[in-house]
Every structure is written in C-alpha cells, then in structure tokens.
Symmetry: C2
Subunit: 353 residues, 2 copies
C-alpha cells in the first residue's frame, strides 16, 4: 500500500508544513511520551495487555493509547505507540520489559551471538505495528500529523550489548573501542533492519519519522561520527531515496556542541533539542539552518504554575518566531499532572507569531 | 598557617605554570580518580578503614591513597583524596556510603530539614582533611602540584535533595522549579560552606582548586545560570579575594554548548571538558579564551591498545599545542588495567610541543 492512499489532505497539518519550510500561524506542538503512564486512561488500557511488548504488538490497544492524548489536548501530531527495542526483538534477541525495572535483554557480546540475529523475520514480526499505523492513519483528524519512529542504531545497540539501560553505556563503549569491526557488524545489522522498518512505517501511513538517539552523549568525535552520525546518514539517505519528501527529525540527546556536526552531516530535516541545549545558541547556530524541535524541561511540566508558564513563554519568545516545533527536551515523566499538559497546550496553541 | 609556608618552589610545576598562562614543554597530565579502585594497593589500604568516609577522614590513610598513583606514574599533580559529599556530612546531614550502592543521604526536602543543617561545625568536622593536605604538601615532589577540590553547590545539592545519585536528578529539579526560594536557601548554605572549606584547603597547601559540577547537564538556561553559574561565580570571587593567584578549574560535566556561558560568567581560570565535548569546537571556542582540561574517554583507557594510543594522539594534536592540561573526560573506572594508565602517561610525557 502506498503512503499516498492513506495520507489525508496535508494542507491543514502545521507540523508537516513547518518541516517543509512553510511559516504557519504558530509553532506546531506535540510531546515526547504524550501517550503514557501519566494518563489514567493509559494505565487502564495497559492492564488489558499481558505486558508492555504485548501492548505494542496489539494494534487495537496501540491505536487506543496513541489516540488518548489527542482526545484531551489539541496536539498537532500523534506518535506511533511502540518502543525502540522492537528492532532487537524482531531480530531474535530475547527482550523483556520487567515492571519497575525497564527493558532487560540477553546481551549480545560475541560474533556467535551476533550471528544468531537475523533480518529475515523482521518484516513479519513487525507487521502488527503497520496495522497500528494504518488504523491511526484512518482515525486521526485531518490536521494531525502521524509520526513514525525508531531508535538510532547506536542507541539500540547500547541496549543490545549492555542488556539494559545504564547511565554511561559502559559495556557498549568498551566493546566498540576493543572490537570496532565486530561492533560495526552489529551497527550495520541494526541499520538495515531500521531502514526496512521505517520504509514499512511510511508505507503504512507515517508522514514524518523521528530517530531517537537517546544515548548520543559522552562520545569522543570519531566514535560519535562512526556510530551515531554515519548510520543516521545512511538511514536518512535510504528513506530519501525510497520515500522522497518524508521529513526525518533527528534527536541526538546530550550531544551538546556535537549537534553542529550531526546537523551538518546526517541529512536530517529537523533537529530535536534536549533540555540542556541553550536556547539562544540553538537559535543562532541550529535554527538558522533547519527547523528545531524542543526543548521544554519535563520537570517544569511536573511543577506547573509560574515555572511552567515562564519557561514556555521563554521558549516561544526565543524560538517561536523561527522554524520551531514545540516539544519537551525529553519524554513526559509519569508523575506529570495531566492538567499541566492541558495548560501548556493551551498556552502554545493560543500564542501567535 | 599561610599557603606560602607550605608551598614548595613552584617553578618546576607544569600544571601551575600552564594555569598561569605559561607555555611549557608539554601539557601537564593528571587523571580524575587517579587514586582509586583500579589500583590493587588502593583496595588494600581501603580495607584498613571502617568505611569510605572513614578513609577520607583518616589523614594517614588519605595521604597514602593520594600518593599511590604518583609512585606508579609520572603525573604532574596529586588531587586530595576526599569526596564531594563531605560538605553535607559536615553540615549535619546523615551521609553513608553503602558498598556497591554509592552514597545514601537522608534527603532534605523541607524548610525544617534545611533549618537543621548548620555551618557552625563545618570547620571542625573537616579539620582532618586539612591535616591530609598538610601531609601531602610535605610529601609531594617539587614538580607535582597539589589540587584541592569540592563539588559545585548544584551538584552537591542534587544528592542532598534526592538522597542518592540519579540519572536525571528528578527530585531536585522538581523541587527547584516548585520552590525556588527554598532551594536558593539550600544552595546559599552549601555555597557558604564550600567557600570556607576551600579557603581552608588552600591555607593547608592546595595550590589549585577544582570545582566538580558533575550534574550540570539537562538544565534550561535560567536554571543553569541560577543554580550552577551564579554559585560557582560566588565561590571563585571569594577565593580570588582571600587567595589571589590560586587558580580554579571548573568542570561543568555535560553542559554542552552551555560551557560557553559558564566560561564567560563564572570567572574560572580553566575549564574541564567531558568526553562528549568535540575537540575542534573546544579548541576554537574555549581554548581560545582559557586553558582547557580533558577529555580522553575513560573507556578508551579501559580498552587500551590502538584505541587508546590513537585517541591520545588525537587529543595531543588537537589541543596539545595550546593551553592544555591532559586529563580524562570523566573519572577512571574500576575495571581499568593500571598498565594502560602507565602507557597513557608515557605517551603524554614523552610528547613535545
């Protein structure tokens, strides 16, 4: 099925227009993890699934949780409900989500373990995700853009090697230094799987792709270039070739000044800013080159009140007159009161350039 | 006791000369956590203390572990063996180091709990640290610079509020947004305690001070300004007034492009670069203004071999001809083979400008 048959009239979509360089009345807004544990209706739907992976792989439930925030808030985009670790799961690595512990994977640390992972089943394994996207594409109002996503190969690989999240990705970073040939093979495999996965997402209705490089921090330049920038550039080039005109937002979280090189060398169409990126620097050095997305502090959203209002105003004043997609600098945290999200969305959607 | 009576002839000290703007034969080298668990002799001495805090507060043992890496490697500096959480301990907060768990503190989350903390006992409580410094000052060879240190008030406060290390300092960041007046009182208290502590360190023989802002990442500009830059500026100004000429190295780990503002507004004499800071950006944007310190990947040091040699060479080529103090971008990790540290130190000390 081609994307043309699914996409609605795109003339009303602020997010898509912004990504294509048009100036609209105000910055479009969506929020990372807008579907999630801070919403009571999410927690209720979550109980209908066996576990977190089952929620991702059950299209009816995944469509439902994706739509939940749109029923409450006037958002400009819906993002597919899924997880960056569906790729290792589809490659045949043992992935589990343990309550209160986050993801746990059987670590891949040798050539033999890598050999056991196969591209062959990826498309079949991830077919339910495409069903979710087709369902969303039909269900969404015409002004709402549908975002598909994947983790960047580096970030996905850190979980595959380390076996779980870690503050410094120690096992992966040592592995990559010690055996760069072996690690390159892993990165290449994940990159190939990600390209097919994202092409299928676009065919199933995704209008924009976001690549989450959540662990892009702390890398020396040559490693950042080889493990983050190059695989990202390969994905962007492959999508541009098969699906020209579908914008890709890259989110190199924690890359700091490395964002300059990331923007210059990956071919992404817009860059996500984490909370620590100074706004005026982002305006002068990044927004002058491409649309920027971000970067409200998720903890200002937890606090609410003046802290939230002032920080939102500062974002709009500094970035809002340029090419800007309003978002957080990191995902919504579970302790966020939903009414604070409502206040934020009201403030942004009533602001005018 | 004045610092003059303790300091040796400083003409042979590469680190001090570099910090004062002189060009010496090669970059001085020291390594964050150069005294620590990767050394078998450290693990042996550690067993003679009741616990980690007892090790810090027992001058004979603290002098011994500070000197251990100097016996193995030709380093240009020794850094006092202590911990950034001695300040909350001295203020009367309950601090414990649990084996395999890191520090655990009784969290400070209300005005009443803050009231219970007192500056009065700080000097007495930290007197053993000054004895350690006096011992080191006598013991060190004349070419070795003695570095004193403290955590920055923001970083120390994150442990005080959160009760332990956390990847995102969530509790502290929410507290600071919700009750900025209460949080300012905590920051002011820690800043005052840190100023007296560092003045005493210099009186006891510290020739250089490093301020570790290990959790400087992820903050929006106004919070970074208020909680990291301003208290740091206050400490630097106070030390400049009481002890002019003693250089302060600031290490805003993870601040990314925020380092520009940190350098411009704190008054520090040199800036530490974490591993993720791109070297050419650091050379052009920071080293043009003041000496830089860093930023070899501690995981390249674990890997050793070509990965370590190439990365060290890249550091020296890019930064070594300017005002540069060779160091890691983060502390040595326990799994580091001591012989890799030896190879690194040999490579740096045999390099010439």
């Amino acid at each position: 099925m081609s994307s043309q048959s699914l996409n609605k009239d795109q003339s009303q979509k602020r997010l898509l227009k912004t990504l294509r360089g048009e100036v609209v009345d105000r910055p479009p807004i969506w929020l990372m993890r807008q579907a999630g544990r801070y919403l009571p209706e999410y927690r209720k739907t979550r109980k209908q699934a066996r576990d977190f992976l089952d929620l991702c792989y059950t299209p009816d439930l995944a469509v439902e949780v994706t739509l939940q925030p749109l029923r409450r808030f006037d958002l400009d985009a819906a993002i597919l409900f899924a997880d960056i670790l569906l790729i290792p799961d589809a490659l045949g690595q043992n992935v589990a989500f343990k309550e209160g512990e986050g993801p746990v994977l059987e670590p891949v640390t040798s050539a033999e373990e890598l050999q056991a992972l196969k591209l062959d089943n990826v498309a079949t394994h991830l077919a339910p995700i495409m069903e979710t996207l087709r369902g969303l594409s039909k269900a969404l109002p015409s002004h709402v853009t549908l975002i598909g996503f994947a983790g960047s190969p580096w970030t996905v690989a850190t979980y595959m090697v380390n076996g779980r999240g870690s503050p410094d990705q120690r096992a992966t970073r040592i592995f990559a230094h010690k055996d760069s040939v072996g690690f390159q093979a892993l990165i290449d495999l994940v990159t190939d799987a990600t390209i097919s996965y994202l092409r299928a997402q676009i065919d199933a209705g995704a209008e924009v792709i976001q690549l989450f490089d959540s662990w892009a921090a702390h890398m020396p330049d040559p490693q950042f270039k080889r493990w983050s920038i190059e695989p990202t550039a390969r994905i962007v080039a492959a999508l541009n070739e098969s699906h020209p005109g579908v914008p890709v937002i890259g989110f190199p979280r924690g890359a700091g000044a490395g964002a300059l090189r990331y923007v210059a060398e990956t071919g992404i169409n817009a860059v996500g800013l984490d909370t620590g990126v100074p706004l005026e620097w982002a305006r002068d050095e990044l927004q002058s080159k491409l649309p920027v997305q971000g970067n409200l502090d998720p903890f200002a959203l937890v606090a609410g009140g003046d802290a939230l209002r002032d920080e939102t105003e500062r974002q709009l004043k500094t970035l809002g007159n340029g090419s800007h997609i309003f978002n957080l600098g990191h995902g919504i945290v579970p302790e966020t009161p939903p009414e604070h999200v409502g206040a934020l969305v009201d403030q942004v959607t009533s602001w005018r350039r």
